[in-house]
Symmetry: C2
Subunit: 441 residues, 2 copies
Amino acid sequence: MIVPRLIERKRDGGQLTSGEIHELVTAYADDKVPDYQMAALLMAIYFNGLDRAEMNALMEAMLESGERLDFSRLPLPRIDKHSTGGVGDKTSLILAPLIASLGVAVPMMSGRGLGHTGGTLDKLESIPGFRTGLSLAEAQKQVAEIGCAMLGQTEEIVPADRKLYALRDATATVEVIPLIAASIMSKKVAESLTGLVLDIKRGSGSFLPHLEDELELARAMIDLGVRHACPVVALLTAMDRPLGEACGNALEVAEAIDVLKGGGPPDLIEVTMALGAEMLVLAGTATTREAARAIMRDAIISGRALEKFEEVIAAQGGEARVVRDPSRLPQSALQKQFGAPRAGIVQTVDPRAIGHGVISLGGGRTRMEDTVDPSVGFVISAKPGARVEKGQRLADVHAQDEKGITAGIAILESAIAIGDSAPASLPLISHRVTAKGVEEL
Amino acid sequence: MIVPRLIERKRDGGQLTSGEIHELVTAYADDKVPDYQMAALLMAIYFNGLDRAEMNALMEAMLESGERLDFSRLPLPRIDKHSTGGVGDKTSLILAPLIASLGVAVPMMSGRGLGHTGGTLDKLESIPGFRTGLSLAEAQKQVAEIGCAMLGQTEEIVPADRKLYALRDATATVEVIPLIAASIMSKKVAESLTGLVLDIKRGSGSFLPHLEDELELARAMIDLGVRHACPVVALLTAMDRPLGEACGNALEVAEAIDVLKGGGPPDLIEVTMALGAEMLVLAGTATTREAARAIMRDAIISGRALEKFEEVIAAQGGEARVVRDPSRLPQSALQKQFGAPRAGIVQTVDPRAIGHGVISLGGGRTRMEDTVDPSVGFVISAKPGARVEKGQRLADVHAQDEKGITAGIAILESAIAIGDSAPASLPLISHRVTAKGVEEL
């Protein structure tokens, strides 16, 4: 293998063979190919892409660089949900216990906040004592015992992906659909899933700005899933405004608990139910999405979903009492209402401004070594299209001091626009993509 | 400076400011920007290019990373000649002493063989004792004393270019016109030239396969020259066959001496005179190219050019007697004639096959640490278009053993094609490019 010749071929629009990709990724994971050659290849891939066979070879090579969860003795369907990242998106916190309470194993591997988006691990860690750093063996055992574990990507899983991702982040080669698809799917196949539901975010708060890219990502991941006995269903959902009301780690856990108790904001409930219905149909627990919704409603009304969340929290060392008494979650020192500066119709609630705002209040990281304040953030009841009176409460800022409150109000002022006409918002759930094709909803 | 943002901007087709390029290259030369980020940027530049201002900023940043020759107290014009690399091209060996013998300083910095092409340093080192590794101070002193020094790129000159070039070589980002132009011109401006003549090779044996690319390289280097008080004139010359007859280090030195004595093959004489005439006009030594040719002929006939070559060789520790007695140059143990396998018209003499052939006989490197056998190579009198009889001597192989002779004959058999019609060869000198524009010759 002469690496510059492989880079050259991809640079000139040619294809790499599966054998070449496998040898290259394996050598890279073993530190035998230098970062600079891989960086040049990644940029060539940015321009010239990878075809389906190349993408699959990349995914398999990354998968083989590490261990997998072993569920060969677990007779349950195993379903995970993955989102491309958003603001206010706490559906994972709801779906993991909800779906696990219905006899489906949910080995959920999540990430931390990235860019302006929040991360499930950061949210879970706002529960006092909650430990997300499970080993592969601990996760396997917990899934076998209580049907669910919520953990971070361990050292053992797809190390080549971790190394490649860090390089992509440093070389402006993150936004490449086949690389994104192979990266996500390598982790999901390593979880030994029997099905995956994908939530692809659309709009100003999402990573992929064009519908065609979002559909292509869905198709690419579905293709990889088909090749590895892991059927994938993707929903395209709106991220031109935050999902639900709470934005900030502990605030989002509290809102997730609300939904598990039968409450919560309608948009959050609808996206959660739509994703959950796909999970249950993939699991074979329900034959139709309508039936799946009914089963989920029962699990919520009966309290079983909430109990499962308590069980997961307790199993991972967290204070399970937060579920019954969310006031035990970290609380910010100060809260302040934000009223509408004028009467009119809410035009936009900018998710990037809100996401970056949470970080600037201390609720996220600008560097990996930053510590996160779980209590701060926003609760924004205003939604685009809502008619509001002057002074009407649109949101609350949660901050630790007056400086934070002032900053938070300024962020809301710039993020929430009020006008006079009906705004053009994206439909909450616009497309459903399966191996059979794309349905516009 | 956030490097991934700069990579991203270039990736997306934007421009980098001169300040950004300067900061980036300076940090890279100081090992403060990692190779992998530079590699990703280089590949983005491969796809999206650099405009003239970016290219100039890159050149200036590389220039400022090191030292320059200081000729502030030398009242002579200083002219160099640079070729993009070919097979059988020994014009530098002739021009340096010839032009220096006419009162023009020639601080000539050359390279080693690269790919299938030969290198002036390797050729000079076939002269017993010749030392090409002059320091900057030694080169300056020698140019002041005898008007000419022939040296390799020193450690002190444009270290950023050396580091970048090694990275480009390992990441398939060599063939990028603004990077080539900035790399060459950074070295030439560091030589403190008052003019530069560029020999851009065309055809199957050249690095740039398309005429438009060759003209663009000429224009780019002319533009950089204009910005740094170093006027550049470029000639586009044929490299669809070797230049002259000798291909191999000592064989080429012998042929260069032939030309300095008034002999040598007509094509080599013509290219040398054309390049030399441009050098003398740039120097102000002659007002027209015709007058310059007459002056050069005088320098050859009078023996002054040859004496200057003896002087340069002696100054750099070499055995100057090779000039009067070329049999003192290294000789191969065996020589063998190659006769035409059939009657007809010579169609092609493939320069890449011949260049790689010299390497395979031991006359070049496949790895940097290889030692070069100066004596081996080919002397090929056959030129495309020549009518030959069966068995007529077309070439000689110079090799150290029977195995080398057999290999050399096989190389000639595959490199020299004989047919029946007149071949389509490139004109020996096809274009002349100056700041005023392109003249087709």
